[in-house]
Amino acid sequence: MKSRLLTVALGILTAIGGFLDAGDLVTNAVVGSRFGLSLAWVVVVGVVGICVFAHMSGKVAAVSGRATFEIIRERLGPTTAGLNLAASLAVTVLTLIAEVGGIALALQLASSVDHRLWVPVAALAVWLVLWRVKFNLMENVTGLLGLALVGFAVAVFLLGPDWGDLAAQLVPQVPVQESAAVYWYFAVALFGAAMTPYEVFFFSSGGVEDRWTVKDLATSRLNVLVGFPLGGLLSISIAACAAIVLLPAGIQVDSMSQLTLPIAEAGGTLLVAVVIVGLVAATFGAALETALSTGYTLSQYLGWSWGKFRRPVHAPRFHLAMILALVVAVGVLMTNVDPIAVTEYSVVFSAVALPLTYLPILVVANDPEYMGEHVNGRVMNLLGTVYLVILVVAALAAIPLMIATEAGG
């Protein structure tokens, strides 16, 4: 009994720590410094959405043993699934670039060695973990260290803001100095950051890696339903830190170092150190997850052997795909692109690719041949359908908004 409680607690803590990635960190900070908390509602909408679909894909994986992209291929056929694969891979690799860049930027904060020099080191470290380390260990260590980002929530309290004022910001409204199009552009970006498709690929494939069965469903549901909302709360506290300190100073976030300024003001050197550990862990964990997701999607579409639980020689093409993805990431970062800019684009393109990923999950979760008695209930279906509509609207709006606002100019 005790060990079971421990497992659940560990799962929840990992889910909190693993929720945040470079996309969430950057987008929330940017949004907080420009819009205060007036977009916090989007995080809430996104978190509920990722809970619904992560739970659904986890359930499908546990009951049928099939991961998300196998199902996408089986249900949508090779052509539509192929388009989906192209879009998902592009977005996942873009996210991987952002995450590896994020690790480098976070390490720079702790070392003042230029982030471009950290990029190959970070990528090599990611690869070594993918190559050697047990799936569970990898998940738990990055997740628990990522918990250090609780520092942002602590900072909000230490800053001792005017709570009434902060609460008043929660009302959705377009600030006077920003246009409505820019507001909605960032709404889509935040939504994309919270619901990135790789999370679902990773979650369902991870369920297969961990050999989930129907018995584990309750645990998985608890992890998702408790862990992700708390992770979302951390997202909002990043925006709050930016809103309290950076917004009044007229600072627009365009680098990761600016994330540490509110922390320094609130908690001093110690808290900054804690948060930097959290930044490294969160981006490192997300880099692992995105790299794995590139391998998962490609292998599952083409029916290759995959999985970290197998020896690399027993899943050679899966490992080769991940190596190539990392090489591409390093190559792109070496062209001196700004990782922050890559991150901002990656979350918007995520929003574009979302509906294609989520529709097949919703369909299969209703299919008794896959799910037996575990087909979706009414509430789950209602939520799933509502979210599908939101996803389609966000996907259609993303590119026009990006062009109209010159990517949030």
């Binding site: 052509t79 539509t80 388009l83 192209a86 879009a87 720079q108 904060l109 702790a110 070392s111 003042s112 300190v245 100073a249 007229g250 600072i251 627009q252 365009d254 680098s255 170092s257 600016q258 540490t260 300024l261 320094a264 003001e265 908690g267 001093g268 050197t269 900054v272 150190a273 930097i276 684009y345 393109f349 590119i399 990006m402 062009i403 010159e406 990517a407 100019g409």
Partner: protein, 167 residues
């Protein structure tokens, strides 16, 4: 290999992929700084001045935090280093804008002066960080001055923009 026209559903799909890819590519490459008309150029100047102010404010926060011993030296150095990059980027951005009329040109030159003047204090802040601990008053005063100069320049640009809207 023979081609079979009754497999056609795939063709629109392929075209769609190409169109989406191209749109995405173009959207990502769309340069924000090269705007032909003057109103657009002044908008850009205003954006760059905002960047510059943001950099000065970041440097100021970092220096204050460092002076109070609340920010590790390495992190402060990175923060101010990023601010230097942003500030020089803004100068570059304003300097390479193309403006047509003399009026807009004058506004641009003022903005360029203000943005250039801001780079020095931000860079000086970084130098201060590298030196053995000493009072930060001078550095902060210089940053303050740069900040107000930038505010003035921003005001001028806004006025010029307002004049355009209501001639």
């Amino acid at each position: 290999m023979t081609s079979r026209p009754n497999r056609q559903p795939s063709r629109p799909a392929v075209v769609l992929t190409v169109v989406v890819a191209l749109t995405c590519g173009l959207a990502a490459c769309a340069p924000a700084a090269t705007r032909a008309d003057d109103a657009g150029a002044l908008d850009s100047v205003s954006d760059h001045l905002d960047d510059s102010s943001s950099a000065v404010a970041s440097a100021e926060l970092a220096v204050r935090a460092r002076a109070a011993g609340r920010l590790p030296a390495v992190t402060a150095d990175v923060a101010v280093g990023d601010a230097v990059e942003t500030a020089t980027g803004a100068v570059h951005g304003i300097g390479t804008l193309v403006v047509a009329t003399g009026d807009a040109d004058r506004v641009r030159d003022d903005a360029l002066d203000a943005a250039s003047a801001a780079v020095g204090p931000v860079a000086a802040a970084r130098t201060w960080l590298g030196r053995p601990p000493s009072p930060a008053d001078d550095v902060l005063r210089a940053l303050d001055d740069a900040s107000s100069t930038l505010d003035d320049a921003s005001g001028t640009v806004d006025e010029a923009l307002a004049r355009r809207v209501t001639p």
